[in-house]
């Protein structure tokens, strides 16, 4: 299973859960599976063309997927996925 950490902003769309588990091959698969269980999740994370919004950051095992294979990044059992809002300057 793959462990996905849900940010506070989105938790009410996940029934209040801070972590969900999916069995997926890629990040896109994982989003599809979450959408199947929690309606409305995809439109919050993705634009109309299906690409992840610029304001959403996704990390797989602490690696930003924009430095990997973006939404096609492969997931393996035991992987940890973190979703957070884009962050700001300092």
């Amino acid at each position: 299973m793959i462990r996905i950490s849900i940010p506070p902003t989105l938790r009410r769309f996940f029934g209040g859960e801070d972590v969900v588990h999916v069995s997926a091959q890629t990040v896109t698969d994982a989003i599809d599976q979450m959408q199947g269980r929690f309606h409305g999740v995809r439109e919050r994370l993705c634009r109309e063309d299906g690409r992840i919004r610029g304001s959403v950051l996704v990390f797989v095992n602490d690696q930003d997927i924009r430095f990997l294979d973006e939404q096609n990044t492969t997931l393996r059992p035991g992987d940890e996925v973190t979703i957070i809002p884009a962050f700001a300057g300092g």
Partner: protein, 437 residues
């Protein structure tokens, strides 16, 4: 249909209901979809993750804020307080701002431009960077919302400012920084008694951790959950530029970019003053400056793209080393809409920029200032800032904090014994006029 946004703990412990005093603020509003939220400690739209921004009651502000009213007030950034997001009188950083706007004739001659001004936030109070502006707003608002603990993710200057202003306000403070920051910036946070946490990673990793911490602990993270208020503080730099120029908008403004927020807020300050009739609406161009070792925004600008590719930073300009700039998209839009441009400079050019500013104007800027000067020089040489025009360079931090970056590059002292013969042997005074016996 989407449910209404919740009122939850993210609003802060003691948030006032919307019907009570909220100053000239109306709501927090998503920059993407326009959804409105109460004026609490939250920064992201839950419908599309878009950033939230403070919406103001401009009709009411217009009846109260005039040049005359501003001119009667103390010379601090708070003389524009109707356009800053606090409900009442500021309680933190009341002396911040109104830094000098220096007419830089010698630098203008070196760069080949008719008229040049330097907005010198290297001497901002109390911690010598423009971050004192954003922090005084964020902490004043944090106090209004009832927070006792404040925090930030920082490349250094923000940490210094949060630590100092929190100490003065009696607030508990946590700052999170990359572990390899310049010593000057580390010491300048520790001295105020802040909890300084060094993270073994670059700034984007520090920021990611803080986004997670902010989601778990009930602290006011100035550049996370307090970001809508914090970012607005940058406008005061633009308000001051317009007032100090004699109530006008500069033709060209060059701004360094990390997240890109400062550039967008200076643009907003020009929009607000002209919309309120405080200055005449004349055309302006805003130009963005980055280091070549971390140039996601200027790389996109030069390629004509409206999106950027994230980068792993590698530059001496550590205060600008953000590879995934949150406001990059909006900064690109401002440059495009105003007809401005962007460029970046190498580490050697950054050091040369620092030297130029210091030798011509007596202003010692940190590495980000070297970026601004270096890029301005390039843009003038390319004709993107015409030689017969007028420009303002925004200098955001003090060189005393980034000595590591220039040590060994700005000449060396020559050591002698206390002997006139040894001094004359150096030859440095050859040809100098002698005092008559």
């Amino acid at each position: 249909m989407d449910p209404d946004p919740p009122r939850d703990e993210r609003l802060g412990p003691d948030i006032m209901p919307m019907s009570e005093n909220q100053g000239f603020m109306k709501a927090l509003k998503c920059r993407e979809c326009g959804h409105e939220y109460p004026l609490g400690a939250t920064h992201v739209c839950e419908f599309d993750f878009g950033p939230l921004e403070v919406a103001y009651d401009y009709d009411r502000i217009k009846t109260q804020l005039t040049r005359e009213v501003i001119a009667r007030r103390p010379q601090t950034m708070w003389r524009y307080r109707e356009l800053l997001p606090v409900a009442g009188e500021p309680t933190v950083g009341r002396e911040v701002g109104f830094t000098p706007l220096v007419k830089a004739d010698r630098l203008a001659k070196r760069l080949g431009i008719r008229e040049l001004w330097v907005k010198n936030d290297a001497v901002n109070y109390p911690t010598l960077s423009f971050k004192d502006r954003v922090v005084s707003v964020a902490l004043s608002r944090s106090v209004e919302l009832g927070f006792k603990t404040v925090a930030c993710a920082s490349t250094g200057n923000l940490a210094n400012s949060v630590a100092a202003n929190a100490a003065a306000a009696g607030l508990e403070c946590f700052v999170f920084i990359p572990h390899d920051l310049e010593q000057g910036k580390v010491v300048n946070s520790l001295v105020y008694g802040a909890n300084v946490i060094g993270i073994r990673g670059h700034y984007d990793e520090v920021n990611r951790l803080c986004a997670e911490i902010a989601g778990k602990y009930g602290w006011a993270f100035v550049n996370v959950n307090m970001r809508p208020y914090y970012a607005e503080g940058s406008k005061s730099m633009g308000f001051e530029i317009q007032e100090q120029l004699g109530w006008r908008i500069p033709e060209h403004t060059v701004v360094c970019m990390a997240s890109g927020s400062l550039l967008t807020k200076i643009h907003k300050s020009y929009q607000e003053f002209s919309k309120l009739g405080i200055v005449p609406k004349t055309p302006w161009k805003i130009h963005g400056a980055q280091a070549t070792g971390c140039n996601p925004i200027t790389q996109a600008q030069k390629a004509g793209l409206d999106f950027f590719k994230p980068q792993k930073p590698n530059t001496i300009a550590k205060s600008l080393a953000i590879g995934t700039p949150a406001d990059g998209f909006y900064a690109l839009r401002v440059m495009k809409e105003t007809g401005g441009s962007g460029d970046d400079v190498t580490d050697d050019d950054i050091r040369e920029g620092i030297r130029l500013l210091a030798e011509c104007e007596g202003i010692f800027a940190e590495t980000a200032g070297g970026v601004t000067v270096g890029v301005a020089r390039k843009l003038i040489a390319q004709g993107k800032i015409p030689a017969d025009s007028s420009a303002v360079l925004c200098i955001t931090g003090n060189g005393l904090k980034t000595l590591d970056a220039v040590v060994g590059h700005v000449g060396q002292t020559r050591e002698i014994r206390p002997s006139l013969r040894e001094f004359e042997a150096l030859g440095v005074a050859d040809g100098a006029e002698l005092v008559n016996a």
